[in-house]
Every structure is written in structure tokens, then in C-alpha cells.
């Protein structure tokens, strides 16, 4: 198979080469005859500057008279130049012999103006209708935007630069249709879930491929947002199929900044932020809690007279004392500082950009911090007219820590968690007792096992270190006119070294006599892509670009982990593992190799009819022996209706009108390395005799069967789109409809047990996603007062078509002690992703319904469950869908207003129609322990319209003599399902650009001061910390559960941006 491909590629390349030669000889073009380029000397010019002071200034505007900020004004024949400021003004010192200015701006025709004796030259540029659109980056190349035939959304770096941001994923939220960004936790340096056009895969991951300057597989959060020039999001298969078996989840292409011609530019940005918990949960104070506990205690009156837990003097005390507010104790106002410095510039042959960034962030949760140092050097050198090379290097050092939060796994059980326990820990308990010891929970009420949340937050020692290098280099030859060969080599290295120690003041440390873990992991990814591109225009009307690529990639992972328990010495903790009396060590090593060959044809006829066809063959080591190579074709066409004469006859209403259609196949290499191979493994459980009790007879079991057929998950996508620009480009927009079917999903398939195995991972499942995306951009106001606005909205509908042996698969099969959640989330054939299954509660029984309630053995004030099958009892037969985590639609609305030197940016973003299961409420609203103010709204004869059940006396219940017909096994009840739709003012920035005249006195080109509010306010009915949350992210089938995540913060930032 490999051989055939080799042959195929050789033939393809030679055919291409032959074609090129034919063209070259046929047209008689000679690439070397164009060697009349001038070599400019800048030295003479700068000497002249010293000798003679001569200044020219003016304004660059478009044909409407609107300023063009960022336009280049260069003295012809020199590297001397200036960039216009936000008002379109420039100012330039001229050498004596300067005669002509060259003014250029992307998307406009360049203009040459002779200087003469003028000192003020205002220049107006006309839009270049041919290249009205900028050039956009596509996989393995660039294309004019007007030539695109696929669904691609661009986010410009200039839009991002206006907002202070520490993470690139934040930059994407609300800006691009079809892109869902879910900030799953507020932890500094935490992870984000990005989904492009829904979720295809059940077990293989749905995170899009991130490609930075051609380097694949970069972690988007390690990028410094200030280094970004542009982001392109490839959504449909005709755009992503060129990434083959890594393209199914969409591709995010990021280009980093390059130096631009003109004077070297030094930019410094400083941000100082303060973060605060965006919303506090509404809990009772000590007085309320004490009375709720006593009220509940009074119901425990079966055959006894209950004594109150808090006696009269304590009640009196707490009526005048507020008690501990545990949320205040564990959350804080946290500062964040960032510095950014960059230097960039270019001469005729060299361009460079060097940047450094430093971020120091405290988290709003005590004992959480994050620091990042980042350095980047981008340099490109044109050696001769035919040879150039470049090197991009980014080095990142990260260090972070946070106390463990979330559900609690392993030894860190739910009672020792900081976030979930803080809202369950009684306000009557002080933080500390005498000698500075943490106060423990008393035994007489609530859940005594709960651990002091301040101890759980402050005491863990956590240090997560990461060193990341992203490196890529290229060497490019222009072989003959139009034919380019580019060799690229790149590497991503990531070393992580994490330490954690839980001392005896933490619950797990207390139980284990100190517990620590130290892990060290190394990940290396190498990539070599060799790209041959040929561009040719012939007979004026035909334009052709051919791309051929041979690529290889290797990923290596290695690591080890040591867990120690039972430490004699708490002080040295994890850094003296020798002091641990019990050690468990593990280590691993994996490798993944990919060989790829791909080609693309772009053809356009008369700029009206466009065709793109791509084909990629991917061979991967992780595929089973019988399926080593996967093939991924795509094709798409577009018709630029606006270029037709009949449209031009209609006048100039449409500046652009394009209809697109595309189809393609992409894959997801969801397979873990070696998953196709059989495995023999040891485990303490395999020892003989009796399950690990023996230390001598180690057992090795064949734990996994080989599956030589194992292959990628296949997504087939069709896209129909329309792009338009009207009113001279003042209103542009795109509509897209897509339908994706994903087959061969990796799931566990049951095996007959005579094989000795229960199941095998196989390509069996199938899902579908379809949707509509609308993106609009416009300039409602131009002139002195400007308003630019962009709106996008996307609708996605998912459906599970086929699972393996079972027509439904449960997820979230267990949840931490005491919350009673089993099999909450389901995937079921014929139903969408994100289904929640449980019992429907319809509030509480009223006194008028006493008879009906009695039929179920219930009293007024008890929860009224919905009897799905109407059989007079509530049991497993009444389980049904109680919510869905997938939104009906997501949207974003960006606005940028400017007037003179002021700018106002407002970004609004939202999600509509999704549900969240709020697990925390199960205990926060539990009678006899919960502190939620919801308990104050509990059912009483005077307050019957509530879903909070009554505190019914046991004696009353016994007197009624009813037999309960409610057999609700756990807490999967619709009472905890909440509408999580929200609309959020994500970002408001007010900026002021200091007048040029002022800044120039201190030698500055541009000074911008600004203030920003992030997450300023959120409109939602959701009662948890934040509706944008997902606590369990290892599988998309579990999105939609909120449980003890690190809460989101509201941030205020002040910033200063200086350009020299």
C-alpha cells in the first residue's frame, strides 16, 4: 500500500513538473530575465536625514474620506517610512533626495505621490476591487478571500489587539459563527472546550486541530494572544479535508505576526486587572441556618421528643452574630498583571518580530496562581530572489497551582473539596480554633465528615510546571516562475513536571498520613512538510494553482509518576519521597507516526467560476494493520454571481455575491497508540491466589484483543454557502448550511465471552450534525463617528444514529459520595447529544391534592413526581428525558464605536436553550444540612406554590398510615435541571488614543490608554455560579453537568499601550 502511494505521488509530482516545464517553454517566459530588481541602499538616506531636517505629514483616507489607520507611507527607494495612526495621520522625516512617497494599504491600490516642496500631503486611496479581500491562510498555502470555495471564518489580529486578553480561546468566543467556546472552569491557566459545528465523536475527542504558521498540533492556550496576526477557522470538509485524518473536528489556523516594512516598531503593553467572583451563591446566614437545622430536628419526633441541636442561648447568640461566610473565606479579589514587549520591522530582505510576554495571575480561589513567560522570534530572510528561509520559535514557561476542586476522585473524596464544601459548611463553625488549628465539623448535625474548606484550599501544596517550545523553520525555493518548493520542519516539545502534597491538615493527608504525587512527562511532536506549489495564469481567464505535499509526523510521549503515602515528615513532603512509607510508581511510553501525501487543485475561470479539489492519503501507525492508510477527498465549487454581466447591469448593488457548494471526507485519529494491538498486562488483581493478596505469584493477563481493522472515524460533510457584500462593502455576510455524518465511531463492541474477552474497541457508531450559520458584518456609521458591528448566530442539531450493541449508552455512571447520581447522561439512537435521564418532578402536592397524593402514599408538601406510565407508582419505568445540554443556538455581537480619539468596544455573547444539571443543589437544599436560601421557601400550608418539599413531622407521616409508592432510586430528578441560557456582556472596553502632537513630544508614535470590564454582567435564570460551565469534560456526552467547578470571575482591567 505504501509503495503504491509512493508511486502515485511520484507520478503526480512528475506530471506536475512536466506540466510546469511545458508551460515554461511554451510561453517562452524566462524567470531569470526578470532580474532587473534594484538593490536599495538605506545608508545614504539616513545620513541625509541627519544633515537636513525635512518633514512631511498628512492624512491617508479612503475614497469616502474615512481615515485609514495602519496604512504604510514609505519614501520610494528607501526603507524609511511611517504608519498612519488611528486617525489616518502620518508624519515622516525625509532625506534630502526624497522625491516620491509610496502609500499602501491592504485591499487598496497603492499610490505614488511626488513630494516636491509640499510639507502636507493628504492621500486618498481607492479600493482595489480585484483584491478587495485580503489574502487568507488556508491549509498549506494562502488564497485570496474571493477565491475561497469553502466555509472559512477569519478573525483579524487587529480586532483582538484592541482587547486585553491572556488566552486565545477567549478571542474566539462570540466572534465566529459555528464556533462554540466553553470556558469549562475559571481556573487560571485552565482548559477550554472548543467545538466547531457540534460534536462528531463519542469517545475520540472533538477538539479542533490547531495549526500555527503551518505547525500542527499546537496547544492554543500556550500562545501569546499579542503575537497573533490572524486566525482562520476552517469549518467545512472542503477546507479541512486537506488535513485528512486530523481534520474532522475543524481546523484553526493561526498566523503569528511578521515584521512589516518601514521603521522598526516597538510596542509595549501593560495591563493590570482585578478579578472577583462573578456571583456568590445565595446562602443562609448563621441565624437562618440555625433555625432551619432546629426546624428539621423538630420533625424527627417518632416516639421521642427531639431536643433542639442549637439550644436557646446558642440561637440567641447566632441571632446577633453573622457567623463565617465560607465563600468570603475561600474567594478573594485577585490581581493579574501582564507586560508585553515586541519589536518588529523589515528591510527589503529581512523581516523580524521579537516579542516577550509576562503574565502573573492570582486566581480568585485561595492558593491558586498562574504565571507565564513567553518569548517569540519570527524571522524571514530573502537570500536571493529565488531562495528564502525563515524561523519561528516560541518558548513558553508556565507555572500554576490550584487546590484540587471538582467532584473529588481517588483519595481526594468529595468531603475534602474546597469549592463544593464551602457552600455546605456551617456558618456557625469558625475557620480556626485555638493555636491556629482549623476548626473541624461538629458531630451533632449535618455531615460531620466535611472538611474545613479553608484547610482544603490553603493547605495543599501544588506546583504544575510546563516548558513548551514551538519551533518551525522553512526553506523556500522559487524554482521557476510560479513554481515554489518549500521544505518545512517543526517541533513541539512539552515538558511537564507536577508536584502535589497534601499534608495532615487536608482530609486525604489526614487519612493517609500525608499524601503526595510527583509526575514528569515529556511530549515531542515532529513535523516535516514538503510543499510544492505551482501558480499559473493563462489566456487571461484561467487561473490555476496546484499544491502537492509530502509530510511526516511523529509524536512521542514518555513519563512517570510516583505516588507516596504515609510520610513521616510533613515539612519536606513531596520533595522527600524517601520519607514515604508507601510508594507506587508508574511509567509509560507511546509513539504515533503519520505519513501523508496530499494534493490540491484550485482553478478559477474568469474570476467567476471557482473549483477546489483536494485529496489526502494518511498512513498512521495507530491504525490497525489491515487499515494502515486512509483516503480523504474533497471538492467544492463557487460561482461569483456578482462578476456576471447581468449582475453588473443591475448596477453596483452587489459588490460581491458568491454561491458555494462543497463536499468532503475527513477523519479523526481517535485511536490511542497501540489500541489495535493485543496487550498482556499485570495488575495486582491478577495475582494468585486471591486478588492481589499474594506478593509472589504475579499474574499477567491478556487484557486486550488485537483489532487489525481498527481505523479512523470518518466524517462526511456537505456545505452550501452564500457570501455577499452590498452597499460598497459596508454590509457583508455569509450564510452556511451544513450536514455532517460521522461513521466508524470508536466504541466498545461486545464479544462472545468464549473468546476470553468481554469487548473490543471497534469502528461501530454513527452520529449526525446539521446546522445553519449566519455571519453579518457592517459599518452603519462612517465618518467622524464610526460604528463597526458584527453579528453571528449558529444553530446545530445533533443526532446519534448508531451505537454498538446497546441502543443507548449511559455516561456519568457515578458521582461523588452522597450526591446519588448514576447514569445521568445518555446517548440513545435517534436522539441528540446531551440527553439527561431521570424522574420529572412537578413541584409539590398541595392540600387540595391530598387524595391524589395519598394514592402515591404521599402527603401534601411532598414532591409530586410525574407518573409517566400512570401505573400508580413511581419507579424505574418512569425514567424519561429531563433535559438536554445542547443549545438551540449560540450567538455573538461585536461592536466597535469610535469618535475622534475615543473607542468603545462592546462584545455581547450568548447561548440559548440548553439545560444544566446542578448537582451541588442536591446537598445544598437537603433538609437538615443544606444552607441554600431555597429552604426558606419550603412548602408550608401558607406557601404551597413551591418545589421545595415541606419539613413533615415523622409523627404526622406515621399517623397518616400511608405506604409510599415512590421508588425513586437516586437524585436524577428534574428539580435540579435548570435552563442555562444566558446573554452576557463579555467585554466592554473604553480606550483613548492620546493626540499625536502630544505623544510625539516624548517620542512616541501612539499612546492608548484603556479600561476593560470582562463578564460585566450576565442575564440568566441559572442559579449556580455561572451558566457557562461543564464539570466533566473527558467526554462530550457529559457536557451539561455543573458540579463544583472553579467559578468564573468578573474582571476589570486598566491598560496602557505604547508604540515607539
Amino acid at each position: 500500500m505504501t509503495k503504491q502511494l509512493h508511486t502515485f505521488v511520484k507520478v503526480f509530482c512528475l506530471a506536475m513538473a512536466g506540466f510546469v516545464c511545458f508551460q515554461a517553454s511554451g510561453s517562452g517566459l524566462n524567470s531569470y530575465s526578470a532580474g532587473t530588481h534594484e538593490v536599495h541602499s538605506t545608508r545614504g538616506a539616513s545620513v541625509a536625514v541627519l544633515l537636513q531636517e525635512r518633514v512631511v505629514s498628512g492624512k491617508v483616507s479612503d475614497d469616502n474620506g474615512d481615515a485609514l489607520p495602519g496604512a504604510n507611507v514609505v519614501v520610494k527607494g528607501t526603507a524609511l517610512g511611517a504608519t498612519t495612526d488611528v486617525n489616518g495621520d502620518y508624519r515622516l522625516q525625509l532625506p534630502a533626495d526624497a522625491q516620491t512617497l509610496v502609500v499602501s494599504y491592504i485591499g487598496y491600490n497603492s499610490k505614488e505621490v511626488s513630494i516636491g516642496n509640499q510639507t502636507r500631503i493628504d492621500i486618498s486611496l481607492t479600493p482595489d476591487l480585484e483584491t478587495l479581500d485580503e489574502v487568507v491562510v488556508v491549509g498549506y498555502g494562502v488564497q485570496r478571500k474571493s477565491d475561497l470555495t469553502g466555509a472559512v471564518t477569519s478573525v483579524k489580529g487587529t480586532d483582538l489587539a484592541q482587547l486585553p486578553m491572556q488566552r486565545v480561546d477567549q478571542a474566539l468566543q462570540g466572534r465566529a459563527a459555528g464556533v462554540m467556546v466553553l470556558n469549562t472552569s475559571g481556573q487560571p491557566g485552565g482548559q477550554t472546550t472548543i467545538r466547531i459545528r457540534g460534536m462528531n465523536s463519542i469517545s475520540g475527542g472533538n477538539q479542533p486541530l490547531v495549526v500555527v504558521d503551518g505547525l500542527q498540533g499546537v496547544d492554543i492556550n500556550t500562545l501569546n494572544p499579542n503575537d497573533i496576526e490572524s486566525i482562520e477557522i476552517l469549518k467545512d470538509a472542503s477546507a479541512t479535508a486537506i488535513y485528512g485524518s486530523q481534520g474532522a473536528n475543524g481546523v484553526i489556523l493561526i498566523s503569528t505576526r511578521q515584521g512589516k516594512k518601514g521603521k522598526p516598531v516597538v510596542n509595549y503593553t501593560f495591563n493590570q486587572s482585578y478579578q472577583k467572583l462573578a456571583r456568590k451563591l445565595d446562602l443562609m446566614d448563621a441565624a437562618g441556618f440555625v433555625s432551619a437545622i432546629n426546624d428539621f430536628r423538630a420533625t424527627q419526633d417518632l416516639d421521642v421528643t427531639p431536643t433542639p441541636i442549637f439550644d436557646a442561648s446558642e440561637v440567641a447568640h447566632w441571632n446577633t452574630h453573622k457567623g463565617t461566610d465560607w465563600q468570603e473565606e475561600i474567594y478573594r479579589t485577585a490581581p493579574m498583571t501582564s507586560h508585553q514587549l515586541s519589536l518588529s520591522g523589515a528591510t527589503d530582505n529581512v523581516n523580524y518580530m521579537v516579542s516577550g510576554g509576562y503574565l502573573d495571575q492570582e486566581g480568585i480561589l485561595i492558593n491558586s496562581e498562574f504565571q507565564r513567560f513567553s518569548l517569540r522570534t519570527n524571522a524571514n530572510v530573502k537570500v536571493t530572489d529565488h531562495v528564502s528561509f525563515g524561523l519561528n520559535w516560541a518558548g513558553i514557561k508556565e507555572k500554576g497551582n490550584s487546590p484540587p476542586f471538582g467532584e473529588g476522585v481517588g483519595i481526594i473524596d468529595p468531603t475534602g473539596q474546597v469549592v463544593s464544601v464551602a457552600v455546605r459548611y456551617s456558618p456557625t463553625i469558625p475557620v480556626y480554633v485555638e493555636f491556629g488549628n482549623y476548626c473541624r465539623h461538629p458531630n451533632i448535625f449535618g455531615v460531620p465528615a466535611l472538611w474545613n474548606p479553608v484547610a482544603s484550599g490553603l493547605e495543599p501544596f501544588v506546583e504544575n510546571n510546563a516548558m513548551i517550545n514551538n519551533l518551525n523553520a522553512f526553506l523556500e525555493f522559487k524554482i521557476i516562475d510560479g513554481l515554489t518548493l518549500r521544505f518545512t520542519g517543526g517541533a513541539i516539545t512539552r515538558n511537564t513536571n507536577n508536584f502535589r502534597y497534601l499534608n495532615r491538615n487536608t482530609r486525604p493527608g489526614f487519612q493517609q498520613n500525608g499524601s503526595g504525587v510527583s509526575t514528569a512527562d515529556t511530549y515531542v511532536r515532529y513535523q516535516n512538510s514538503n510543499i510544492l506549489t505551482y501558480t499559473k495564469q493563462f489566456d487571461q481567464k484561467h487561473s490555476l494553482t496546484l499544491t502537492g505535499v509530502a509530510e511526516q509526523q511523529v509524536q512521542l510521549s514518555k513519563g512517570s509518576s510516583i505516588t507516596g503515602n504515609n510520610f513521616l515528615v510533613d515539612q519536606s513532603g513531596i520533595f522527600d519521597l524517601g520519607g514515604a512509607q508507601s510508594l507506587i510508581a508508574t511509567s509509560y511510553q507511546t509513539k504515533r507516526a503519520i505519513n501523508s501525501f496530499l494534493g490540491r487543485v484550485n482553478y478559477s475561470f474568469a474570476d467567476k467560476y471557482l473549483l477546489t479539489a483536494t485529496y489526502r492519503a494518511d498512513g498512521s501507525s495507530v491504525f490497525g494493520a489491515n487499515n494502515k492508510w486512509g483516503y480523504f477527498p474533497s471538492t467544492s465549487v463557487a460561482w461569483r454571481v456578482s462578476e456576471e454581466n447581468f449582475m453588473k447591469d443591475l448596477g453596483s448593488f452587489f459588490t460581491e455575491l458568491k454561491i458555494r457548494a462543497g463536499w468532503g471526507v475527513t477523519g479523526n485519529q481517535a485511536i490511542a497508540p497501540y489500541a489495535s494491538l493485543a496487550q498482556v498486562a499485570s495488575h495486582p488483581d491478577y495475582r494468585y491466589p486471591y486478588y492481589g493478596l499474594s506478593t509472589t505469584n504475579i499474574g499477567f493477563d491478556i487484557t486486550r484483543a488485537a483489532n487489525a481493522n481498527l481505523k479512523w472515524e470518518t466524517t462526511t460533510q456537505t456545505d452550501l454557502g452564500l457570501d455577499f457584500a452590498i452597499l460598497n462593502g459596508r454590509l457583508t455576510g455569509s450564510f452556511d448550511y451544513y450536514k455532517k455524518t460521522t461513521d466508524d465511531l470508536l466504541l466498545s463492541r461486545q464479544l462472545p465471552t468464549y473468546t476470553g474477552f468481554r469487548s473490543i474497541v471497534d469502528n461501530v457508531g454513527s452520529t449526525e450534525n446539521k446546522g445553519i450559520e449566519i455571519q453579518l458584518e457592517g459599518d452603519p456609521f462612517v465618518g467622524d463617528f464610526k460604528w463597526k458591528t458584527g453579528f453571528n448566530i449558529s444553530f446545530n442539531r445533533s443526532k446519534v444514529l448508531r451505537l454498538s450493541n446497546n441502543s443507548r449508552l449511559p455516561f456519568r455512571t457515578t458521582s461523588g459520595a452522597g450526591y446519588g447520581i448514576t447514569d445521568l447522561m445518555y446517548l440513545r439512537e435517534g436522539e441528540p447529544f446531551g440527553q439527561m435521564v431521570g424522574w420529572i418532578s412537578q413541584g409539590t402536592w398541595s392540600t387540595d391534592e391530598a387524595d391524589e397524593a395519598a394514592a402515591y402514599g404521599q402527603l401534601p408538601g411532598d414532591i409530586k413526581y410525574f407518573d409517566l406510565n400512570d401505573d400508580g407508582s413511581i419507579n424505574a419505568q418512569d425514567l424519561t428525558t429531563i433535559g438536554n445540554a445542547m443549545p438551540d443556538f449560540i450567538y455573538g455581537w461585536n461592536n466597535s464605536f469610535s469618535y475622534k480619539n475615543f473607542e468603545l468596544i462592546v462584545l455581547i455573547q450568548g447561548v440559548q436553550g440548553n439545560d444544566l444539571f446542578n448537582i451541588g443543589r442536591i446537598r445544598q437544599e437537603r433538609p437538615g444540612e443544606g444552607m441554600s436560601t431555597a429552604l426558606l421557601n419550603r412548602w408550608t400550608p401558607d406557601n404551597q406554590d413551591t418545589d421545595v418539599p415541606a419539613f413533615t413531622k415523622q409523627s404526622v407521616r406515621a399517623a397518616a398510615g400511608l405506604t409510599s409508592r415512590i421508588n425513586v432510586g437516586d437524585s436524577r430528578v428534574s428539580r435540579w435541571v435548570e435552563d442555562a441560557s444566558y446573554l452576557r456582556v463579555k467585554n466592554v472596553t473604553l480606550a483613548y488614543n492620546l493626540p499625536r502632537a502630544l505623544t510625539e513630544r516624548v517620542g512616541l508614535n501612539r499612546v492608548r490608554v484603556y479600561g476593560t470590564g470582562t463578564n460585566l454582567f450576565t442575564v440568566t435564570d441559572y442559579t449556580g455560579y455561572d451558566p457557562e460551565v461543564s464539570s466533566f469534560n473527558n467526554n462530550d456526552a457529559m457536557i451539561g453537568i455543573d458540579f463544583a467547578s472553579y467559578p468564573t470571575s468578573r474582571t476589570v482591567t486598566f491598560g496602557l499601550d505604547l508604540t515607539f
Binding site: 524566462n30 507516526a593 505519513n595 498482556v680
Partner: protein
């Protein structure tokens, strides 16, 4: 340089580029287990073979499976506990399941060791390992055949049942034939392990 020369020059360059492209060295896509072992590179020492046999024995005990609890269905015959005579598809499956998981490991040992996977060892030790394995196989089938009668009979020579499913049970007589031949092999004095 004449025009022709330049043309030839161009052709050479393009050809060179094409050659470089196609020669771009390829990664070997054959996956070899690193960091773990598979049936193809395990069973290379007597100890490894015995470790596989140890796990086979553990399966017969295994908590909630095997004989510690899995024989429960046979003992009460659905009369003692539920008494409703609703026999679910998984009823009494646990013992079956555990014996076949044991047999998977035993056949793994027999297959590999018969093919000479154990090198540089005393031939009598190798024979002893095989004898142990064949005794255990006989034992497992003996338990199975008395409970279930005709069985899917899997030996070291059976094609991989994961990829080639077994479509019919082997008559119990043939199962007994295998048991007898395994026991005879194991009881041969020359094959008996010394301890």
C-alpha cells in the same frame, strides 16, 4: 547561457524538486509495542509463562465472578432467590465467562511455548511449563463440559476467535478427548515439573 540551456536547467531543477519531494523519508508505520508487552513478545521465560497461568487461576476465584460468587446461580437454580423462573440471558454466565478467560491465557502459553518462545532454558523446565498449562486447560474444560455439555472448543490451534467467530459447539465427546490427551501429556513423568 542560451535559451535552450536555461530550459534544460529549469527542467533539471523541477525534476530535482520532484525527486526530493518523493524521497522525503517516510516513517515506519508498523506499530511495535513499547512500554508494554503483547502475546507476540511475552512468554519468553518460564516465569512469564507461570505469570500467565497465575492469572488464569485467579479468574476462577475472582471476586464477584469465578467460584467465589459466580456459582450461586447453579446452587439455587432460581428457586431459592427469585423463584419466578425468569431466567435472564446472563443467568449462570459468570462461570462460563471466567473459565474462558482462564483458557485464553492458558492457550496463550501453550501456543507460544510450543512454538519455542522460551529460549535458553532447561528443556525439562519448558516441558514442565507446558505440562502445567495442559493440566490447567484440562481442568477448565472438565469443569465446563460437565456444566454446559457441548462447548466452543478453543485450543492453541484454533484461529483467533475474535476475528473468526465460532459458529457451532463441539460435541462433548471431543472435549473429553482433549481433556484426556492434555492430562496424559501432563501426567507423563518426563514432562512433570520437579516441584
Amino acid at each position: 547561457m542560451s535559451n535552450n540551456m536555461k530550459k534544460i536547467n529549469n527542467i533539471l531543477k523541477v525534476g530535482l524538486a520532484a525527486v526530493i519531494m518523493s524521497l522525503a523519508s517516510c516513517q515506519d508505520l508498523t506499530e511495535e509495542p513499547i512500554g508494554f508487552v503483547g502475546p507476540d513478545n511475552f512468554y519468553t521465560t518460564i516465569d512469564q509463562g507461570e505469570a500467565a497461568l497465575a492469572s488464569s487461576m485467579n479468574h476462577l476465584w475472582a471476586y464477584w465472578g469465578g467460584y467465589s460468587y459466580g456459582h450461586w446461580d447453579f446452587m439455587h437454580d432460581d428457586q431459592l432467590v427469585d423463584g419466578d423462573l425468569v431466567i435472564t440471558p446472563t443467568f449462570a454466565s459468570s462461570i462460563w465467562d471466567r473459565h474462558y478467560r482462564a483458557l485464553k491465557n492458558i492457550n496463550g502459553v501453550i501456543r507460544a511455548v510450543s512454538n519455542g518462545s522460551v529460549q535458553n532454558a532447561n528443556p525439562s523446565d519448558v516441558a514442565g511449563l507446558l505440562a502445567q498449562a495442559r493440566f490447567l486447560r484440562a481442568y477448565n474444560y472438565f469443569m465446563l463440559v460437565r456444566l454446559y455439555g457441548d462447548l466452543p472448543l478453543i485450543t492453541e490451534e484454533t484461529p483467533n476467535p475474535v476475528t473468526d467467530p465460532i459458529t457451532s459447539r463441539t460435541p462433548y465427546e471431543e472435549v473429553y478427548d482433549l481433556i484426556v490427551s492434555d492430562l496424559l501429556y501432563a501426567s507423563n513423568v518426563d514432562n512433570m515439573p520437579l516441584t
